[in-house]
């Protein structure tokens, strides 16, 4: 019997898809698929490094998409959750998908289908939240700058939203946790890494990186936030359910509460 192998890939989505291609193509018995950043070999498995190949990744992507649009979306979203062991689950999901004629993406009574669908949903929820909770601060050099720290890697998912919304201003959205960001230069969006000396949370103290006007508008927004609250209806529990505390440090309306 062939021994099971662990595929090690570079952590990118295309790398993962390449691994899937390889596994199918060479009929490998996969015991795990691990990102090289966190790989740990199993006792009885051989490891094998997979090099990302765009054309192979593309073929897998197209193959899944031909089966089901919902499936490819769920797979991509669930992948971005970065949850431990997600690759193997997705691999099994894809095996299932190709084993059946009918698209199994809506077979919600199946445990793994429901799980991937729900994980994709959570990532989708955070995507939506980030579209809501990004707070730009205007820097001295005229760039609208925002830090975020989402649970999942949602930057690739929100790029389009911000590009079409803020087409006439330069902006950067920077993921502090994953140490990369998006920079829109009024033409296109680039991926950037920055050497941030400090993380610009929304603090009461002014920072010289930003314009004075910036702080005036933050104050106005803060005031607005306060005066729109109706005291006789207060419901803190509902409030934190909608605006989880882990996001507060980047919300200008919350700077006094942090």
């Amino acid at each position: 019997m062939e021994t099971a192998r662990i595929l090690i890939y570079d952590g990118s989505f295309n790398g993962f898809l390449t691994s899937v291609f390889k596994a199918f193509d060479e009929k490998i018995v996969v015991s795990d698929i691990q990102s090289n950043a966190i790989s740990q070999s199993g006792l009885f498995s051989e490891t094998e490094t997979v090099f990302t190949q765009m054309d192979l990744a593309k073929r897998v992507w197209n193959g899944i998409q031909r089966k089901s649009n919902l499936a490819i979306k769920n797979i991509y979203f669930a992948f971005l959750s970065g949850q431990k062991g997600i690759e193997l689950q997705l691999y099994r999901y894809i095996l299932k998908l190709f084993a059946k004629k009918q698209s199994i993406a809506t077979d919600y009574a199946d445990e793994i289908v429901m799980k991937i669908s729900q994980l994709a949903k959570s990532v989708g929820r955070e995507k939506h939240r980030m579209e809501a909770f990004v707070r730009f601060q205007l820097t001295q050099d005229g760039i609208y700058f925002a830090n975020i720290e989402p649970d999942f890697d949602v930057l690739p998912l929100i790029s389009k939203h911000f590009r079409s919304r803020y087409a006439d201003q330069q902006w950067i959205i920077y993921d502090v946790k994953r140490k990369y960001g998006l920079f829109y230069n009024m033409e296109s969006v680039e991926i950037v890494t920055l050497d941030l000396e400090e993380v610009y949370t929304n603090s009461i103290q002014k920072n010289k990186a930003f314009t004075n006007e910036e702080y005036d508008y933050q104050d106005l927004w803060n005031d607005y936030f306060k005066s729109t609250n109706i005291k006789s209806r207060i419901n803190k529990k509902l409030h934190t359910q909608h605006v989880p505390k882990r996001y507060w440090k980047y919300l200008s309306e919350k700077k006094e509460a942090v």
Binding site: T106, A109, F133, R135, S164, D168, Q169, R233, H239, S252
Partner: protein, 420 residues
């Protein structure tokens, strides 16, 4: 602009606008062309939530809180001794643009007290919207409040720049309105609504022939009713709402529990509780009408003029109509699935899709997010018998309340709180 001055105005004019709950920013699609600022995606985004748990999506302010009228339920009423202020047109434009650029808001919700006369006021509201669209190339969301009594010409112009227009009915019954707002006539509210409705219909049919006809109030119109200021029943409120949905093509009707703002013998006294749970029940009923295929007469009628407070309206209906149950999960149509307490629309759609693959049993339903503690009294699936067929409505209600203690209690006040 002078920040100190604007800050002071903002405090006054946001405070006065906060009782208007119609704040949704959804339902309009305005794409960003020629590298302008903003777009409306149709989804609507809540950028923050107030400490009372309501969505903050738009910069919601009054242009002024001066008013020549004296409606008893309104903070802005003439006889109220409060600080007054008025924004300049440019100040509102600057605030909107700068908040929008920082991703604080989806757009502007502009309302106003009535200074001088309705037309004079409406003209200024329109001027703000026009400036945002034409000079600032702004594609974000704009909701203008129509001023009751404003002329047809101004209402027409407003619809060219705004995504949504609304007039608040405020008091659900005509007799209540007479009592609390003696200066206002019922027609002052309905006339502009009718005008907007007709223009929307006209523009839509023209767009079918001439493609580049501009959009007219693409997100439609909405209205708001204050709940619990006068002695109306839930039936009065919901029948009135249904009337506006039907006859004026309303996109949304909002229900706003009355917050006592005046010591007035005609009104609940200051310090009385805001009827938040009642408000929540009305929203739930509204959902049942719009998304679950219920007819209002099924839920509220002469024998049931008011909604239950302790259970949601779908459960209430089910308990009064046990003859429609049990529903078979594996064969029932969409309409009946949606009527099972504990099964929300999302679960309905999952069930419909999942049962193509296999016969569903309880384990499956649980995995799919169905609240079995409620649903089990109203359904059959798989081999399981309908275990509760002999139970009386009161018994079922008791059992459900027992099993979901607290859950119902915590559902106060969220206008968007989902139930299933």
């Amino acid at each position: 602009m002078s920040f100190e001055r604007v800050r002071e105005k903002l405090n006054i004019l946001a405070d006065a606008a906060k009782y208007d709950v119609s704040c949704s920013s959804s339902g309009s699609i305005r794409t960003n062309k020629n590298k302008g600022l903003g777009n409306s995606s149709g989804m609507g985004i809540c950028h923050s939530y107030t400490e009372d748990g309501r969505c903050v999506s738009l910069l919601k302010i009054l242009l002024t809180n001066y008013c020549i009228f004296d409606c008893a339920y309104c903070v802005t009423r003439k006889s109220n001794d409060i600080k007054r202020a008025a924004f300049k047109i440019q100040e509102v434009v600057d605030l909107t643009i700068n908040f929008y650029r920082r991703n604080y808001i989806e757009g502007l919700f502009l309302s106003s007290g009535i200074f001088k006369n309705p037309d004079f006021t409406m003209e200024r509201l329109v001027a703000v919207a026009k400036k945002l669209r034409l000079e600032e190339n702004f594609n974000g969301y704009i909701h203008l409040k129509s001023i009751p009594g404003a002329s047809d010409e101004l209402m027409f112009e407003a619809g060219l720049y705004a995504d949504r227009l609304s007039v608040n009915i405020e008091i659900p019954t005509i007799s209540g309105l007479k009592l609390l707002a003696p200066d206002k006539k019922h027609e002052d509210f309905t006339k502009p609504m009718l005008k907007v409705k007709n223009e929307i219909v006209r523009y839509k049919s023209e767009r079918k022939i001439i493609k580049n006809t501009p959009k007219y109030a693409p997100a439609g119109q909405s209205t708001q009713m204050i709940i619990g200021a006068t002695g109306e029943s839930d039936k009065d409120i919901m029948y009135s709402a249904t009337h506006y949905y039907k006859n004026y093509n309303m996109k949304r009707v909002y229900y706003s529990g009355y917050v006592p703002v005046a010591e007035d013998s005609r009104l609940p006294s200051i310090g009385s509780q805001v009827p938040m749970l009642r408000e929540n029940r009305l929203y739930q009923t509204d959902w049942l009408l719009r998304f679950y295929g219920f007819d209002i007469r099924e839920i509220l009628n002469n024998s049931t003029p008011n909604l239950d407070i302790d259970i949601d309206p779908k459960l209430g209906w089910a308990l009064r109509n046990l003859n429609h149950f049990p529903v078979d999960i594996n064969t029932a149509d969409k309409r009946m699935l949606a009527r099972i307490p504990g099964v929300g629309m999302q679960s309905v759609n999952r069930i419909l899709k999942a049962r193509k693959f296999r016969r569903l049993d309880r384990e499956h339903l649980k995995r799919m997010g169905v609240a079995l503690n409620r649903a089990k009294y109203f359904m059959v699936c798989g081999a399981k018998n309908w275990e509760t067929k002999d139970l009386q409505p009161e018994t079922i209600k008791g059992l459900i309340l027992q099993s979901s203690q607290g859950k119902f209690r915590n559902k106060y006040s969220s206008q968007l709180s989902l139930f299933n």
